[in-house]
Symmetry: C2
């Protein structure tokens, strides 16, 4: 992983401080104790912001961006800081914009299958409000109960349901956002079809607060299935499980979840967490279908037929919620038991075409041996989106170095298999310096130019997503969309 | 509709002509007779290009764009010219780039549910190649048998299946394209999830050849359903049918088609085309479900339950292909019978939130009376995407004027209902001048800036999608992304 670049934070210009205090009132935090809670995200990186803004409406956001732009002070958008890439950490100082006071559900329109929300609403609170209407918003990251819709959109968050229902980008109709130039833009319409100009709303999804600050989102909703049912398939080895994934995805019944655990993950769940798994289990799939109670048995039958085949050890169908919970126990036991292997974990969510899962898992196992560190793979097999968990002791300099070298090789492996760096976590700081391997130079240059259009002075989340620009001599030049030079107060 | 702006075409610079003749060989057409076939599209607009290029690979496309850029000669991408908005008509002269020689299906990967194609492949030819694999590509415009995948992507084409399977933008994973700067860019990956930088591939979809020329597409495929079954629901009036549409879209079984016909459409199909429809029919829905043969009866049952309710006159279920064809006959008879009303037709595909269909149809009926011209509405009700067919005699100056005035009011009506100008046809020339009503000024300014990033000299399809830039005095200034000034040879 790239170290956080050293940035000399300087205090905010006093006139900006006064202006924003007047604008935001008690929504302008400058006390170090208050700022501390906005210094980190789930990547465990830390960097204290110079101030925290808690706007209550779009008018305040526009004024805030314009004021900061005038002083070239960085703005880092923040939901609840659950992201894993450092994208929400204000490494260049400046102002963190937390949307915690913009958390209203503005409208739920069941007949149009859409909801209009402010960015700070928690995903879980939205789902609770939608449930009485028989609708849900598909993105379901593990953090759903305590992550915001705005943050989900910023990272293009997914989750296990994405295999059937898509990730955040697939479930947004329209956005209102404030660009780095302080312009309020309205992208998309509240309709499920649209061919009116350039698709700006899907461009903003996954842009990690580097192009604009989302102040309102119109989300595409899906009717909630009445029932769900899980199947656990255990295989002799990863190759058999991966072949089953390809069969499952090539037949017409798309599973609502298709989760994978490799041999090490199975062993951990069994030996450490006590899950009921046979000794010969070399890989595991959790397969779930959802839908109408009358149809579900047929769907499960089709999925079980596709799951069968060479290398299958056992196939268990949970026909009630208790059995379903028992089958899922192995998967849920996994994350806590990882910590028994080592105190530190790097969890990256590379993605490959489904057919390449065996090569990815095999290659990762080889890297685990080469670097003498445990690497456990599990995740969203139906999308080829595996979470590669490298376990190490960060206090051990040798392990620390090997861990980061191994992870660089994992990225190179995923790219060589026709995959990419991230399926649902995003780039942030963690994968930023690998972007030139994933994206061709002309394409990356185009992304930089797009950044410049939305954010001419580079004040929005500087240093994230795009790597620092290398000049012709190989040195690092200030990126047009990179860290903003700060004017002295 | 806007008239085609008068542009003084000047001959191609002789050195460019020589350079491109050497590059393209018999793929460089300059004979007026040969150029004639590339002068029009299905909007019936005409404008003769100065030359036609038929590249065979991406290397030729890069060289072609760079050469034309050096001389600031416009390039207009063309599939098979089936689009209805003038987007493929070279109104500023220049070079039409037809992708008819880049029509290969490069790869079909069933396990990864994707296919890699060149832009010139016909949608229908692709579907035929996919069928043996049990897969299909969802976009199904009426023109599918003779329109290209590249053209479908350029317009974000949809069709009746979009209600369940999405339009073109929802069914693309990755694109390789050549920008107006002559740079080859690679956007997206062949995976169904991705959060690696900015989403350029969905930005290119629907951009009508104004940002880049697509030279390769990786398409997301869907397993083909084994069976399908249709229901015809006849209602007393449009309000009852529209209420049924909202009920149908709010329950869990998403229909694979949900097509609407208003009272005039029903009357035409019955009285002119002899379709078997009752006299009291004031609106009609064609509802179709697809899937496994075992599940289909339950799906149809759910859809029929939702279709029932106040105002239902009759509900007919086709349980075999012959009955299905008979039910669809009314819908298919409609388009030819429109011509009995008037020789000219303006067909625009506005879209509104599903719940606003009654207001749209009611408002259109009022405009039909006000302007004394027949306007018939039918189309993809599940997406709120109605085709508004205004019938008139183009040779009658009064009708001609009233027709265009009425259509301007139809656009204003759709926008006032929270909808937008186009669901699947795009903007082209036909709706270009309505863009400032649909898109706010700061958002439109952002679109212009994006255009400039991809196409710095404004050579790609100038004059399309974005309206000419108005200067501060209200005059028309040359747009940075508009018609390219031509240097004298």
């Amino acid at each position: 992983m790239s170290a956080v670049p050293p940035v000399a934070t300087m205090p905010l210009p006093p006139e900006l401080d006064r202006e924003l205090a007047a604008l935001l009132g008690d929504g302008w935090l400058t006390d170090p104790g208050e700022r501390l809670g906005y210094a980190y995200d789930n990547s465990r990186r830390h960097s204290l912001p110079d101030a925290v803004a808690l706007p209550v409406d779009r008018t305040q956001v526009v004024a805030l961006v314009r004021a900061c732009r005038a002083h070239r002070v960085p703005l880092v958008a923040r939901g609840r800081g659950t992201n894993t890439t450092g994208a929400a950490v204000p490494v260049g100082g400046g102002v963190v914009v937390s949307f915690e006071r913009m958390d209203r559900i503005i409208d739920i329109r069941p007949g149009d299958r859409c909801a209009v929300v402010e960015p700070g609403v928690l995903n879980g609170d939205l789902q609770a409000a939608l449930a009485p209407h028989g609708l849900f918003w598909p993105p379901d990251p593990t953090s759903a109960m305590f992550s915001t819709v705005g943050g989900n959109l910023a990272c293009n968050a997914g989750g296990p349901h994405a295999v059937k229902y898509g990730a955040s980008r697939d479930n947004v109709l329209a956005l209102v956002a404030v660009t780095g130039a302080g312009e309020l833009v309205e992208c998309g319409t509240a309709t499920t079809k649209g061919s009116t100009g350039y698709d700006l709303q899907r461009l903003l999804v996954g842009s990690e607060g580097t192009l604009a600050l989302i102040v309102e989102a119109t989300l595409r909703l899906t009717p909630a299935p009445a029932t769900r049912r899980a199947v656990r398939a255990i295989y002799r080895d990863v190759a058999s499980a991966a072949a089953a994934v390809a069969r499952l995805m090539a037949q017409p019944v798309t599973p609502s979840m298709l989760e994978f655990m490799d041999a090490d993950a199975v062993r951990l769940a069994r030996d450490v967490a006590g899950a009921d798994l046979p000794a010969e289990a070399g890989a595991l799939l959790m397969i779930e279908a959802d839908g109408d109670a009358g149809q579900l048995p047929r769907d499960i039958e089709a999925l079980m037929a596709a799951a069968g085949g060479d290398g299958l050890v056992s196939l268990d169908d949970a026909d009630d919620e208790a059995s379903r919970a028992r089958l899922w126990a192995a998967r849920k036991a996994l994350s806590p038991s990882l910590r028994t292997l080592a105190p530190g974990k790097i969890n990256e969510d590379v993605v490959v075409p489904v057919s390449r899962i065996p090569q990815l898992v095999g290659g990762v196992q080889a890297l685990s041996r080469e670097f003498a560190l445990p690497i456990i793979c599990f995740g969203h097999a139906g999308n080829g989106n595996l979470h590669v968990n490298l376990m190490y002791d960060p206090a051990d300099a040798g392990q620390n170095e090997r861990a980061h070298a191994a992870m660089a090789r994992v990225f190179a492996l995923a790219l060589s298999l026709g995959g990419t760096l991230s399926g649902e976590h995003g780039i942030g700081l963690a994968k930023r310096d690998f972007m030139p391997q994933a994206i061709t130079a002309p394409t990356l240059a185009l992304m930089r130019e797009l950044k410049r259009v939305f954010d001419p002075d580079g004040i929005l989340n500087p240093g994230k997503l795009l790597p620092p620009l290398q000049d012709a001599e190989g040195g690092v030049a200030p990126s047009p969309g990179g860290t903003a030079p700060r004017t002295a107060p």
